[in-house]
Every structure is written in structure tokens, then in C-alpha cells.
């Protein structure tokens, strides 16, 4: 009996090392730091810049004081700044919707169908390797200098991160969950709708978030090249008239708008993925 017990104890012992942790409480989440901590660095820099220009250490035509930039913003507000913001936002929205729509469709197809993966993925990977700004001359040749080339460029910028997120998100779904679904006899469509897409959702949302920030980036590129309205136009205008304050004002607005749209995306992510069991909060 004693001998038996030792033998079985030996049998018991080996496979459980990894398993015992399964029922232990999850590691304590990191203590959240106060939110205002993130304001410390920019606020200090602004104060420093204000002091430096007022004291005359820095040439105010190259680095205008933050108060001066604020005054310029107020002045611009009376001269149709909202129109510029609206023009840029509309371009980003249109390009993002176009790029994201195509990326979701094609990414899902490539993720779900081995045929589409073999057929399309190599081409997309090749196209992805092209620096997107290289499309600009071609788009200008083909589409003129109106809205169309700008929106298409923004769509190209937004397309690839989203496409990658969807396609690889679906490909990377845990085989173990797919097996559970197979045991219940799910059809291909049911498998896609009930298991693959929900499981790929975190990767899809990350792709959408990256795609949106790239859409803002490409909007600026498009407007720098040819535009008569928009924040990119303000940047060019400020440079041509040697008004660093206008350039900085446009940069501040781009930062605010980018951050705002990203926060919306984060909120959407938090709502959609409330079921996720993750370690820390997402970087906002």
C-alpha cells in the first residue's frame, strides 16, 4: 500500500505544475496612477517656452510663445478656421470609411478563405511595402487635384493596418475554440459569425485604431501637396508667409483632433471588448 501510494503520488506530481496556477487569483492589477500625471510634461514645456520667448532667449518669429499661438487661434477662429477643420475632418472621415470598408471586406475574405489568402495576400503584402506617399504623383495624374486623390490617399493609408488586423486576427483565432465549434456542427457561415469574427475583434479594433491615426497622417500629406482649405493648407500657408504661429496653431489642432478621434475609438474598443480579461488598461 505504501509503495503504491508513492508510485501514484509520483504519477500525480508531474503534470500539475503548470496547472496549479490556473485557479490562483490573477496577478494583482497595477496600481492606477493619477491621470493628471500625463499633463505634467506638456505643461512644464509650455511654461518653459513661454518664459524663454518672453525673456528673449528664443526668437519669437521661430518659436512664438504659447500665448501668442493661442491668440492666433482666436484670430483664425474669426477667419473661417471652422471651415478648415470641417474640410480636413470630412476628408479623414470619407477616406477612413472607404479604406476601412474595403479593408474589413477583403481582410475578412482573406482571413476566412484559404483560396483568397493564396490568391490575394501576396499582392496586398507587396502593395503594403510601397511607401504610401509614393502614390501621390500617380493619384494626381489620374485623379486631378480635387478631392478624389486626397480621399483615395487617405483610404490607402487607412486600408493596410485594418486589412492586416482583420486578416491576421481571423487567422490567429485559437484552434481550440474552433474545435469546440466543430463539435457542435457549425456551418462555415455560422463558424465565421459566431466564433471567428468575435474572436478576431480585438485585432480588428486595434487595426481600426491604427488605421484612423494613419488617416489623419495621410490627410496632412494630401493637403500639404495641393489644397486651398484644410489644416494642411494652413501649415503650407504659415510656412509661405513665415508665420510660425499659424503653423503651430495648425499642429495643435491636429493633435487635438487626432486625440479626440482616437479617444472615441478607445471608448468603442472598451465597450465592444468588455468581456476581455486583460492585464492593464489600454494606453490611451
Amino acid at each position: 500500500m505504501h509503495a503504491d501510494h508513492e508510485l501514484t503520488a509520483h504519477l500525480d506530481a508531474h503534470p500539475d505544475t503548470a496547472a496549479d496556477t490556473a485557479t490562483e487569483p490573477a496577478p494583482r492589477p497595477r496600481k492606477p496612477q493619477p491621470r493628471w500625471l500625463g499633463l505634467l510634461v506638456p505643461a512644464s514645456l509650455l511654461l518653459l517656452a513661454e518664459a524663454a520667448t518672453r525673456a528673449g532667449w528664443l526668437a519669437s518669429n521661430l518659436l512664438p510663445a504659447p500665448s501668442e499661438v493661442l491668440a492666433t487661434l482666436q484670430q483664425l477662429a474669426q477667419q473661417g478656421l471652422l471651415g478648415h477643420i470641417a474640410a480636413s475632418s470630412a476628408r479623414v472621415a470619407a477616406g477612413f470609411v472607404l479604406g476601412a470598408g474595403l479593408a474589413l471586406l477583403l481582410g475578412a475574405w482573406v482571413g476566412l478563405s484559404p483560396l483568397a489568402l493564396a490568391l490575394l495576400n501576396p499582392s496586398f503584402q507587396a502593395l503594403r511595402a510601397i511607401p504610401s506617399l509614393a502614390w501621390v504623383p500617380l493619384l494626381l495624374l489620374w485623379l486631378g487635384i480635387d478631392e478624389a486623390p486626397k480621399i483615395v490617399l487617405i483610404a490607402i493609408g487607412a486600408f493596410f493596418p485594418i486589412y492586416m488586423g482583420v486578416a491576421s486576427g481571423i487567422r490567429d483565432v485559437d484552434r481550440k475554440l474552433v474545435e469546440v465549434a466543430r463539435l457542435r456542427g457549425l456551418s462555415r457561415t455560422a463558424l465565421a459569425g459566431r466564433v471567428l469574427l468575435p474572436a478576431a475583434l480585438p485585432a480588428v479594433l486595434t487595426g481600426l485604431r491604427n488605421g484612423l491615426s494613419l488617416a489623419w497622417m495621410f490627410m496632412v500629406a494630401a493637403e500639404l501637396i495641393a489644397a486651398s482649405r484644410g489644416l494642411g493648407y494652413l501649415l503650407t500657408d504659415g510656412r509661405e508667409t513665415s508665420r510660425a504661429d499659424i503653423v503651430l496653431a495648425a499642429i495643435v489642432l491636429l493633435a487635438v483632433l487626432g486625440k479626440l478621434s482616437d479617444s472615441l475609438m478607445v471608448a468603442l474598443e472598451a465597450r465592444t471588448l468588455h468581456w476581455r480579461d486583460s492585464f492593464g488598461e489600454a494606453p490611451r
Binding site: T8, T23, R182, L183, P198, H274, W275, D277
Partner: protein, 245 residues
């Protein structure tokens, strides 16, 4: 034994050129509890996957109640994996009633959750469950379709000792109450002898059944029952004979 619930014959099963199983014939009567033990790599999990229809790439055939198994989707078979494998975005209720998609039988889910000791957890998400609770949900899910055969692949190995004891008792009791047969892969001789009517000892490379040890003790069995020691000894000797120990 002529009308076996499960009649599984594997003439040959290879995995990337290597023979995993050869000449395995396994019969399981209705209501029987059968355990498979053997060294790791002896193909016992593969055998279970074949029985479930998850693995179709082998020479042989699986008969469930006399008719060949067509695919993995038989509602007569429930499967409990080593890990719970719950869908993290679905509530406990939707996980248990996964077979019925959006319209699970609420009364049935509630009854199953009560049986596994998780009443009131319907709306909880998997992330809110402990490892043992998640495995209970997985067991409830496997029983949802009223399967006649429950396949268990080392279902308790990821649990702490106390939870394991509770779930072992629970599974055998549920199987009796629901009239399901159990086919269980385990690496614990103690567990196999305690729970099973019959223990099959598998030999490795290629996997084949080396010995069948009957445990003719009535259920429920007491964990400390000295009579179990005899069959435990038999199984251990068989394992030693096939160099699994």
C-alpha cells in the same frame, strides 16, 4: 457487449509519417465508465479525438450505436477538454447553451448550472470565473445536448486537488443521472481506478491496448476504500510492463 454504444476500430493511424495507433479495438457499453491510461505520446488523446469525429484521417471506423460516425457534430457526444475552452465573449448561459446559439433553453441551462453548483451565474462572463468554475461550465456545456457518450480529455488535470475531488465525484454522478457513458483519458492511476468500471492500459509507439483491468466495485465508491488498492496495483503493474513507468 453485443450492443455496444461505441465500437471503435483503428487499424492504423499515422501522424506525420509516424505510427501513433495500430490495431486498437475499443468497445464501450451504455452507462459504462472507461478510462484510458498510458505514457504520454501513446495516442490516448488521439483515440479520444477519433471517437469524437474530430480526427477523420485514420484507417478504421467508429460506430456509435451501430451506425458509422459521420462527422464531429453528433449531439449524442459531449466533449470536455483539459482546459475549459469557453468563449470569452459569451455569458455563462450562452456558453452552456452554445448548441442553440441565441436561444438557449433557459430552464435546461439553469438546471445544468444548478447541478454543477453554479446557480445564478447565467449572466457572468468567463473572465469572472475561477479555473474550477470554468471547468464546471464546460461540463455543463458538454451535457447540454443530452449526450449518451461523454468524452473527457484529462478534464481535471488543470485543477487544484480539492476542486479535482469535487469535480470527479460530480462528473461520475452526473453521468449516472443522465445515463451517459464516460470515456476518459487520464494520467492518474488513482483517478482511473476510482472512477472507472474498466481501465485500458495503452502501450506506446505504436499505441495499442496492452491490458484491460476491470474494476467490479459498485458506485459510489469511497476514496479511501482499501479494495481499490488491488486494482490500482494491477494497473500500475500493467503500466510498468509497457514501460510507461
Amino acid at each position: 457487449m453485443s450492443n455496444a454504444l461505441l465500437d471503435l476500430r483503428v487499424h492504423h493511424k499515422a501522424y506525420s509519417g509516424r505510427s501513433v495507433l495500430r490495431h486498437v479495438h475499443l468497445r464501450l457499453a451504455a452507462g459504462e465508465v472507461l478510462s484510458l491510461v498510458g505514457a504520454s505520446g501513446c495516442g490516448k488523446s488521439t483515440l479520444l479525438r477519433i471517437a469524437a469525429g474530430l480526427d477523420r484521417d485514420f484507417e478504421g471506423q467508429v460506430l456509435l450505436d451501430g451506425t458509422p460516425l459521420q462527422g464531429p457534430a453528433s449531439r449524442d457526444i459531449g466533449y470536455v477538454f483539459q482546459e475549459p475552452r469557453l468563449f470569452p465573449w459569451l455569458s455563462v448561459e450562452r456558453n452552456v447553451g452554445f448548441d442553440a446559439d441565441r436561444s438557449p433553453d433557459h430552464a435546461r441551462v439553469a438546471a445544468l448550472l444548478a447541478e454543477v453548483g453554479l446557480s445564478g451565474y447565467e449572466k457572468a462572463l468567463p473572465k469572472q470565473l475561477s479555473g474550477g468554475q470554468a471547468q464546471r461550465v464546460a461540463i455543463a456545456r458538454a451535457l447540454y445536448t443530452r449526450p449518451r457518450l461523454l468524452l473527457l480529455d484529462e478534464p481535471f488535470s488543470a485543477l487544484d486537488a480539492f476542486t479535482r475531488i469535487k469535480l470527479q465525484d460530480l462528473v461520475v454522478e452526473l453521468a449516472r443521472r443522465h445515463g451517459s457513458s464516460l470515456l476518459m483519458v487520464t494520467h492518474e492511476v488513482e483517478e482511473a481506478v476510482l472512477l472507472s468500471d474498466r481501465v485500458l492500459v495503452l502501450e506506446a509507439s505504436p499505441g495499442r491496448i496492452a491490458r484491460s483491468v476491470e474494476v467490479p466495485l459498485a458506485h459510489p465508491r469511497a476514496r479511501g476504500d482499501a479494495a481499490l488498492a488491488r486494482w490500482r496495483q494491477d494497473v500500475l503493474e500493467a503500466l510498468q510492463a509497457v514501460h510507461a513507468l
